[in-house]
Symmetry: C2
Subunit: 201 residues, 2 copies
DNA sequence: CCAAGGATCTAATCACTGCTTAGAAGGAAT
DNA sequence: ATTCCTTCTAAGCAGTGATTAGATCCTTGG
């Protein structure tokens, strides 16, 4: 399991820790991730990680930021083409998709000690970015509307998408069919309902 | 701080632990709640709590169940009178209200190790109950609609309400005005948008 | 070229945690 | 009053986050 430690000074311990950490979280979630076992996983003493991360929280934060970067990139791709409605539906689907593919990572990003009682400052940047990604298409579709209304619509839309992704992630949704095709269809319908409600003139 | 320990056998240690635990969580959140400090808070040895709770998780579960009971009661009150639309708006407002009043408790109930990777069986009962509370008014308002459509509408509605409550709880929402009156107004608008979308014929 | 100095790592340690055990203290019933 | 069960204490184990002193390696200025 250890990634060979033939040298005293290692090539890229920080990167190795992040990769191993991400793999661990994908499998077991962040709750049980300990700095010690992570160090052991990459074949290094228990104190070594502290030269690359101030504390456990900083490590988790770095992992979360990785996830945010990934999701931000995907969002940029999703809004490349299409009309506002298509963009928004695509964005919503993609977020739910991410939540389904990487549930434990999403938990770290949105529902961990990193966001309790308030989000870590480092995360706020990405949240603003995501917010802007939603506002733009809505503003375009609701040209002429008061800024307050647009804000409320975006709020409702983002709440729906995030809420649905979060609930599905932790299997807190009723009547979820086993077949994935069906699940995608349900997701599409929920997202569509939310988008159309947001864009209603 | 200790609640007098003049007797060896205490009147109701379990209840005292739950009360102290709830107070602690309201102030500091569940992450940092340790069995030891809680025992110390109520003036008892560090092993005593384990005679009333199998482990720390069981204690947290009991606290979460308290919260669920409270919220379920409130929901029952909210749906006592009114037409479907009014009921749903009232339900939504109440949930957000609970999230705002007891953010740390809500976190324990919905976004803790108790719901990761799947909700504890003990919580599912309350979730089913909550789901049914929403389905009834929607079904009444959408009489004649296919069950599948009703299900999707409820899903979207619950996602919005939960998502909004969750995001507001952890201050992950943009443009939140300081004045509480204004906040309530925003909440009402978001909930109304979601309810009307769900009940659209 | 090499000696100084900085960066990276190990080993050892501390305080704290969840949880278990052995046994003491108290209550209740025969 | 004796017995049995519940409730509690005291002590301890293993695992955790984090710090420290010192070893090892790399870089760089002279």
């Amino acid at each position: 399991m250890a990634i060979q430690a033939k040298t005293y000074h290692r090539e890229d311990l920080r990167g190795d820790l992040l990769r191993a950490g991400r793999a661990y979280i994908a499998e077991h979630g962040h709750h049980s991730l300990s700095v010690r076992t992570l160090a052991q996983l990459v074949g290094v003493s228990s104190g070594a990680p502290y030269h690359h991360f101030k504390d456990r929280r900083a490590l988790l934060l770095a992992l979360a930021l990785d996830g945010y970067a990934e999701i931000t990139q995907a969002a940029a791709d999703a809004t490349a083409t299409g009309n506002p409605r298509e963009k928004l539906i695509c964005l919503g689907m993609q977020f739910v998709d991410f939540a389904t593919r990487s549930p434990q990572l999403l938990e770290l990003m949105y529902e961990s000690e990193l966001t309790s009682p308030a989000p870590d400052p480092a995360l706020v940047v990405f949240q603003d970015l995501g917010h802007e990604t939603l506002v733009a298409p809505v503003r375009e579709a609701l040209a002429g509307f008061a800024e307050e209304i647009i804000e409320v619509r975006v709020l409702a839309l983002w709440s729906t998408v995030y809420g649905f992704a979060s609930l599905r992630r932790k299997h807190m949704i009723q009547k979820v069919e086993p077949r994935d095709l069906r699940r995608d269809e349900v997701t599409r319908q929920v997202v569509t309902v939310a988008v159309d409600a947001a864009l209603q003139r």
